[in-house]
């Protein structure tokens, strides 16, 4: 039972971080109809900036500057590339983002080398225990911050001008434009928000119990992608549920590896994708995605 609860807690905390990243995917898709593959490199950029700056200016300022750098990078990508390709096919835009991702990633990997950069989290590697079930403080704080950010996002999405503009653009871009909603601005802001969310997720993903900033941190974003898809690529609520589902499934599959041996070693790595495929087989638009209706 202890093992189960430990794995569950771990899965939920990891899932909350996946949800933050997946939310980024979703709002970019909703606002600019781009399936953005740049998230891996944005995540790594955030983590790298925070780690590098921490020594020079201290932890908290480094976090703020790191988040700003990532948001700025997302903004620049949107303005310089995505905005100029408005109207291009969705698939071309997705491939463009893969290109951008590889460029940023290559440079970051070159800079990180085989080092492990440590982010000096004030809460360090301490852990929090309820009875015999333990969770690292880093993950606990991550869960709280992620929950707050997601709640804040939902409120903003529902009530702020930007939220309304974005929902309108997603619903019907042309009509929204005719109503005076500046889609370029909506899209740019969505990228900035996605950048911020990625950097916040990165801050916690490179803390205990993971080792610090190493090039492999980018792979986390690839696991958040199935989270976004299975939740429904255009559903913000879906991103949250998808993230949690993937986090829990992954932790369970790794923790019960021995019981799942008949499926082969290393099964946990493929679990996110198996869950995604299983969901899509029954609900092709994802759990909460908008069903596409075509009048014939």
């Amino acid at each position: 039972m202890t093992q189960f609860l430990s794995l569950l807690l771990n899965g939920i905390s990891l899932g909350a971080l996946y949800a933050l990243i997946a939310l980024g995917f979703v709002i970019i898709f909703k606002s600019s109809e781009v399936v953005s593959f740049t998230h891996g490199s944005l995540l790594l950029l955030g983590a790298y900036s925070i780690a590098r700056l921490s020594d020079a200016i201290g932890f908290l300022p480094a976090v703020v500057v790191g988040i700003l750098i990532t948001a700025l990078a997302a903004f620049v990508i949107e303005r310089l590339i995505i905005n100029r390709l408005r109207g291009a096919a969705v698939i071309s835009l997705a491939i463009v983002t893969i290109g951008v991702d590889i460029i940023i990633l290559t440079e970051l990997i070159r800079r990180i080398g085989s080092d492990i950069l440590n982010v000096p989290h004030p809460w360090g590697g301490e852990s929090f225990r309820i009875g015999s079930v333990g969770l690292s403080q880093n993950r606990l704080i991550a869960f709280i911050v992620a929950a707050l950010l997601i709640a804040l996002f939902f409120v903003a999405f529902k009530y702020s001008n930007w939220g309304i503009a974005m929902r309108a653009s997603a619903e019907d871009g042309e009509t929204a434009a005719l109503m005076g909603i500046r889609q370029g601005r909506v899209s740019a802001l969505a990228w900035v928000v996605a950048g911020v969310l990625a950097a916040v997720a990165a801050l916690f993903l490179v803390g205990s119990p993971t080792p610090g900033v190493s090039p492999t941190a980018y792979a986390v974003a690839l696991r958040a992608f199935p989270a976004a898809i299975l939740g429904g690529l255009d559903s913000t609520g879906g991103a949250l549920v998808g993230g949690l589902l993937i986090g829990i499934a992954e932790a369970m599959a790794a923790g019960y590896q021995d019981q799942l041996l008949f499926l082969g070693r290393g099964f946990s790595a493929v679990v996110p994708f198996i869950v995604m495929i299983a969901v899509l087989m029954f609900r092709p638009s994802g759990l909460f995605g908008t069903k596409e209706l075509t009048r014939v």
Binding site: T2, Q3, S6, L7, N10, L14, V76, R79, L80, E107, I109, R110, R111, G113, S114, D115, I116, L117, N118, H121, G124, G125, E126, S127, G134, S136, S208, P209, T210, P211, G212, S214, P215, T216, A217, A219, V220, E250, A251, M252, A253, A254, G255, Y256, Q257, D258, R265, G266, S268, A269
Partner: protein, 413 residues
């Protein structure tokens, strides 16, 4: 407005590229030698020797994932050959090329240097060594890889610098048994990478488990898995008495952090690549200093302060890792091969390969474990050092000098 936005964007883009370019300018170490005596006229030569200068190839990683290690090993190679000659006559220059840890790049770079090098001082990475194996074999190239997989011993002319991973970790088990840190019938959890490195390491665990009735719980992971919480939770509920690792330093840090958090107070045994000095700056440092035991083919700077001093004088900005000791060790081995070939009067590629095959009971002055000889398909050594992380240069101190554990001979065959 539009123009100014564009120019601001362009400036930013340009700045990014300038930064990127500055990141690329990794300085390739150059090597130069002092003057040598006249070359013996009766030494046969063919490729890679001009007058009194021998040219050796280096295919390393200066910009890829193993850049820090590649830099350390290559710097050590260069430094060694700045101060040494082959049979007091020949200076050695290195043709250093950066593969970025991409096998295809390695193959192309080798074809560029193929006709100019006598042998390969260093080739980093199992995938690149494996990719080049057919060419090395047909060109009769003597080569030293910086990996310890058993498959590399199958390449004729390729000299793994120490014991293979299975023998290495078995020596670690032997140490733990002797120190009373592990008992017969105990339970061991082994986390290992998928692929050759992990498979070879876990083979060592399996052999020891069979010999000593250990219960072995295996957990295979991918190199990109960073969070070891689930695996350690599983080990904790199985009540393991030891955690064995054949992974990279990142996973080691995660294992230590989670084990400490869950109160899983058991020793951790690792193959040599599990440790990097950078781990001692993270939150897992204290736990690692008391719980991690690393079986290693090389000694630490503790035992070779002169090496450290020499290295720091030459490269004052570098933070030396044990890669430096590996680099010096493999250069010393190359020197012994070339000296032997020179003594045999045959510095052709074939002559060098013969000298390499003749080598027996090689001693590198304690840098690398004693090498019994390079036989195809066999671990070149049965011995390992046991290191433990500590606040010393290089990050590790020697707990036990090179020794042959009781399982080594059986595993090595």
């Amino acid at each position: 407005m539009r123009l100014s936005k564009r120019s601001a964007g362009a400036t930013m883009l340009a700045a990014t590229f300038v930064l990127a370019a500055s990141g690329c300018s990794t300085k390739a170490p150059e090597s130069s030698g002092g003057g040598g005596a006249a070359a013996g006229g009766d030494v046969a030569t063919d490729v890679g020797i001009e007058g009194e200068t021998i040219n050796l190839g280096v295919l390393t990683d200066l910009t890829g994932v193993f850049a820090a290690l590649g830099n350390d090993i290559t710097n050590a190679n260069s430094l060694f050959w700045e101060n040494n000659q082959v049979c007091d006559t020949y200076d050695v220059t290195l043709d250093v090329q950066d593969t970025g840890y991409v096998p295809q790049q390695g193959v192309s770079l080798y074809s560029g240097m193929q006709d100019n090098v006598l042998a390969m001082q260093q080739t980093i990475g199992s995938p690149i060594n494996t990719a080049l194996a057919p060419e090395y074999e047909s060109d009769q190239i003597v080569n030293f890889p910086s990996a310890w997989s058993k498959t590399l011993t199958e390449i004729p002319g390729t000299g793994v610098v120490g014991a293979t991973y299975d023998v290495e970790i078995a020596n670690g088990y032997d140490y733990l048994f002797r120190e009373g840190l592990l008992q017969e019938g105990d339970t061991v959890g082994h986390i290992y990478f998928e692929g050759e490195y992990g498979a070879n390491g876990v083979e060592g665990s399996r052999a020891v488990a069979e010999a000593r009735g250990l219960e072995l719980i295996e957990a295979q992971i991918k190199a990109t898995d960073q969070d070891m919480s689930a695996q350690i939770t599983q080990f904790n509920s199985a009540g393991v008495d030891l955690i064995a690792l054949t992974v990279a330093p990142g996973q080691t840090a995660s294992v230590a952090t989670v084990a400490a958090a869950q109160g899983l107070d058991v020793p951790i045994l690792g193959s040599n690549p599990v440790f990097a000095p950078g781990l001692l700056e993270g939150p897992a440092a204290e736990w690692l200093k008391t719980h991690l035991y690393v079986a290693s083919p090389v000694s630490s700077f503790d035992a070779h302060p002169e090496l450290l001093q020499q290295y720091q004088e030459a490269y004052p900005d570098a933070v030396p890792s044990l890669g430096v000791v590996v680099g010096f060790g493999m250069s010393e081995l190359m020197k012994q091969v070339l000296d032997q070939a020179c003594e045999n009067g045959d510095l052709t590629r074939e002559g060098v390969l013969n000298a390499f095959n003749e080598l027996e009971e090689v001693d590198t002055g304690g840098l690398v474990v004693p090498i019994r000889g390079f036989e195809v398909g066999q671990s070149p050594s049965l011995e390992s050092f046991i290191l433990q992380p500590a606040d010393v240069p290089g990050g590790a101190t020697v707990l036990e000098e090179a020794f042959e554990g009781e399982f080594a001979a059986d595993i090595a065959g």
